[in-house]
Symmetry: C2
Subunit: 62 residues, 2 copies
């Protein structure tokens, strides 16, 4: 599987936000992340960086 | 490997922009995409969507 873990960057530190993310889609409140089991989590943030070989999505608050 | 292909969405259609993308990083002109071989391509766009199980990154012009 080629999912990634999403981290929220705050004050230069990265906190795990959601594991095994498949989809990231625009949402009226920011983004909706969906993991490989279909579980969804909304966050008021944007995608700052990707490092897919390291399975990382870095989000930053808007 | 867990790279993805990056597509640029234009007028509702998705055009392949770069294959086997590992990293996407902010760049003064938008984003810089780096593939698994270290080849880089800059684009004035933002990340609109991810579908990692389908190996897709969707970019949209800013």
């Amino acid at each position: 599987m080629c999912e990634a873990n999403a981290y929220l960057r705050r004050d230069g530190k990265e906190e795990l936000f959601l594991e095994m993310v498949d989809k990231v889609l625009p949402h009226e409140e920011g983004l909706v992340l969906e993991d490989i089991f279909g579980r969804r989590k909304v966050v008021k943030a944007k995608i700052a960086e990707l490092a897919l070989v390291d399975h990382k999505i870095i989000l930053e608050k808007e």
